[in-house]
Symmetry: C2
Subunit: 333 residues, 2 copies
Amino acid sequence: MTKTAAPGSGARLAEEARGGSRLALSRLLTAIESRTAAAEEALRALYPSAGSAHLVGVTGPPGGGKSTLVAALTAEARAAARAVGVLAIDPSSPVTGGAILGDRIRMQQYAGDDGVFIRSMASRGHLGGLAGTTAEAAAALDACGFDIVFIETVGTGQSEVEVASIADTTVVVQAPETGDEIQALKAGLLEVADIVVVNKADRPGADRAAAQLEAMLPPLPRNGVEGAPDGRPRPKRPQVLLASGLENVGITELLAALDVQRRLRADLPHVQAARLARARAQVAGILADRTRAALWSDRRRAETDALLEAVASHILDPYAAADQLMGLARDGS
Amino acid sequence: MTKTAAPGSGARLAEEARGGSRLALSRLLTAIESRTAAAEEALRALYPSAGSAHLVGVTGPPGGGKSTLVAALTAEARAAARAVGVLAIDPSSPVTGGAILGDRIRMQQYAGDDGVFIRSMASRGHLGGLAGTTAEAAAALDACGFDIVFIETVGTGQSEVEVASIADTTVVVQAPETGDEIQALKAGLLEVADIVVVNKADRPGADRAAAQLEAMLPPLPRNGVEGAPDGRPRPKRPQVLLASGLENVGITELLAALDVQRRLRADLPHVQAARLARARAQVAGILADRTRAALWSDRRRAETDALLEAVASHILDPYAAADQLMGLARDGS
């Protein structure tokens, strides 16, 4: 934690956010994104209350209609009086302000509804790593009583796949496009899916796309449990569902399928693995943060920059620089 | 460095790779990907000889024809007897072996040509971070005398953009598609571009796509230098070029434009910033590696895992776990 805050301001934020203040929750998430001392204090206070929300990752290539699907799922869950949090990892540049604009548009529908909290997080510039920051934001929503937290990411880069790996259940969303595009989807994404949704099911080709996806899935293993590439045992092959977020088709069934996953897997190693992955991402983010703070503190920044200059000029090799930096960090911390 | 190797094996690899052994170079890159002790030894030996190659990032959305364009540029550079290295960051799953298969197909054309070295690197599973590993691989090729090193990535995720940031010059490749898709490209990618290539220029709409891209670029600043979002001053707006990798159209012009960038910018802060970014990525990778080695060593793994379990069960908050882990690392290292 490199920034300072008045002692107690994090504890107050935590208390107000838990008490239902949306403003406090919003400030807390901003603090988490900037990794301030207040965020650390708030999370230390909130963390014991977290652990009961269902964290659902929603990912897939651009244009699949993920946001519309999450909006439809949110409306469905609200109809059952369940509190819903949405963390949308927005690939827009922080420069263009895309994330903030997106928030405003999404928020309008739920203005005045305390049971919905939607937050866009820019996908760049997270000091402690996007997965760690997202896990902390999810823990904050969890502790504030949100029953289901959707973590929406564009599933194309490594960091987005890492974000998906911290969710209890992962939904991969695909528009009913050509075989080519499904091939592109296949690389990496199907491996993390618990449920695959062919969205925009009202479009021609949706049934065929669903059949193509089914054909791509690995055969069902004899014992009903197989190892996934991320090392998490899967209870079964991902389920393929047809839906339309826009036309509100298949949404009841999708939310029910999520609830089945939640119950089915509460005792499975899979969920425990996701919870361990979350813990690891959070702790790794904090450790990276502290190393960075030790090396790039105002007091030591000049020495660190001089070493990097020497590496850039090929006067010093990066291993020698790392040795010297670790010496610096040890002497001064 | 967590793995051990016979002392001197890294130095021998480095010597043989510099002497022209493709097998040694290939083994060295494998060692760099796995972050072995031999890789550290080899890089320490090679690093002082690196620093003269032009590192060219080639990125853009899937389907833009990046690989074909890089192949055409490679052929053009070979015609001038220049040695070319290609590092292709392959988004394929390491499970499916996509990266290795891709290598074999690409290699066939240059079998027996010592002036070309092509290597695919899986985009997942890099312990020290993809940018750090790629910077080290580029330094190895650089030290082995490759004059130009193409770093090809699918420009969709944060890690791929980070990889582009370690290149001296970045080319963003776009197929002549619809305005919508250019909008998607705009988010983040145009900001890192030094040259934008509208590839597949033989297709209808290429001129229109180029005009649309030109219209999207920020106005030329009065002094000809503007700050880019990554903090690197740009000498000018990105250049937009039409080309076709498949039909070998515009390739001579593109390679010439790259050489102009190389000369033009040798003294500009931009190149120095990229070299600093490379140094930082490499050193950060090494530091992350050492922290990980200290915490997940066989001797300490049980303690670390127990702490993460406690975080996953919400018995301990992640900050308290980080405090305890740093204590462990300090006591034992």
